[in-house]
């Protein structure tokens, strides 16, 4: 069975929870090589997403992600706001009006999201940005989908790859975003945007696993 709008809203709710719980951690990461606001901005943004979902419950996964995109765009600010806003908007566009999403569609939506971030931010792999979480995640998702995994499996693979990708930013020297001003001094710290991307994709996987459990589908 594919993922429905319930998964999408669960994902966004778990994302909001994750941003709230990891707010201080993301601030701390940003404090080291940026300006101490990433956790605060993401938390504020996802609170706005929750409010938007409450005001007008979406009918499709695409509609849910589009609502999230608008809320993030208008409430996060900084670099992450337009980047995540674009990511969610491109994912929403990629999903279209579909009410159920299969593994391939899901992987394609993640790729569209990533491509949106690249289109806006022009970062390449290894620049020590959220792309370093997105790109391995997309690769892993596509591989899983091609290998016949179900949506839960696709998201599990994406989340794990994003986490590994985020950790792999630690030794890198930033070449995009605020951390790039630090030059060599940016090495030795995890990129906050890569860390938040990993958290968001982990939330996506958890939401899928939860939906799957509810509807009685085996998550594995």
């Amino acid at each position: 069975m594919g993922l429905t709008v319930d998964w999408a809203t669960d994902w966004l709710k778990l994302s909001a929870k994750a941003m709230e719980e990891h707010r201080v951690e993301l601030i701390e990461l940003d404090r080291a090589i940026g300006d101490s606001d990433h956790g605060e901005n993401m938390d504020r943004g996802f609170q706005a997403v929750l409010q938007k979902l409450d005001e007008a419950p979406p009918e499709t996964p695409g509609a849910a992600l589009k609502a999230a995109a608008m809320a993030l765009m208008s409430k996060v600010g900084g670099a992450a706001g337009p980047l995540y806003g674009t990511a969610y908007l491109r994912a929403a566009t990629s999903l279209g009006d579909a009410t159920e999403i299969d593994a391939e569609t899901l992987a394609a939506a993640l790729a569209a999201a990533r491509d949106g971030v690249v289109a806006r931010g022009k970062a390449e792999l290894g620049d020590k940005t959220m792309i370093d979480a997105w790109t391995p995640a997309v690769d892993a998702a596509q591989k899983a989908a091609a290998g016949g995994a179900d949506p839960v499996g696709v998201l599990e693979a994406a989340a794990e790859a994003a986490e590994t990708g985020a950790m792999a930013t630690d030794p890198l020297v930033a070449r995009k975003g605020r951390a790039s001003y630090l030059g060599e001094r940016s090495a030795g710290h995890r990129d906050p945007g890569a860390a938040s991307t990993a958290l968001l994709l982990r939330a996506a996987a958890a939401a899928a696993a939860g939906s799957a459990a509810e509807t009685g589908t085996d998550a594995v």
Partner: protein, 333 residues
Amino acid sequence: MKKLINDPRSVVDESVEGFGMAHADLVDVHTDPIFVVRKGAPVAGKVALVSGGGSGHEPLHAGFVGHGMLDAAVPGAVFTSPTPDQIIPATAAVDSGAGVIHIVKNYTGDVLNFETAAEMAQAEGISVRSVLVNDDVAVEDSLYTAGRRGVGGTVLVEKIAGAAAERGDSLEAVAGVAEGVVRNVRTMGVALSGCTVPHAGVPSFELAEDEIEIGIGIHGEPGRHRIAMEGADAITSRLLDPVLEDLGIKAGEEVLLFVNGMGGTPLSELYIVYRRAAQILAERGAKVERSLVGNYVTSLEMQGCSISVLRLDDELTALWDAPVHTPALRWGM
């Protein structure tokens, strides 16, 4: 963290509200989304100037809204660029039909949010031109960064472009003046202490008693490198020399010298820096025709300063001298 605030999450709202109350003769404050416009805007036939950015740099930008400078300012959360849903209505509110200039400090977040806003405002039929300020010589302008940051020089761009708009220049002409300032201004800063973002609650960085950060931006981020504390004269050389180098200031040239406080350094110390900076310029044969000393582009309560030099010509000097009436910069009226 000890601050004169009520709640870290209401800092910007309450501060801008108070600002609006204190300067009700000059500005109107819009809430939800939050932005500040010049009283009586749009000014018929005048090109409008809009700037904005993260809060925490006060008086930048809202303090520069008024006659001869900005028509609107859009404050984001502390150190967070504002969002398109603030920038778009601010842009619309001040457009008289003559078009709007967005003055954007070069940071990824500011660029992306203003870019989106400009696109959407254009779609609504407003002519928008963006001018990017990137005066920080601490950041090498290479492929391996997001480019030079916009820092202290921003206030000079806003003042001078504002004067061009006020005298009736066209959209292209005002943008040209602004870009001329950007080409001719360079800045470099030093921090003696970090600053504490209210929602973070801990200092942006910690410096030992004998350490300073050279080449800082204006967001409490660490600088390019950390060195042992030095006397004010030595620090002044460290900041000013690369600025003059980069600008290629030659004997006989006229400049504006701007010593900007980061917020927590006493004015008396800024004048000690100004003294040495003016001496260095004199030694090089440059003429300091205009000066500005004070806290104009700050990083909350950070201790430190930046030095900006703007190469002047007769037109820039005349535009600098033109009347301005804003909460934080005022003369001639």
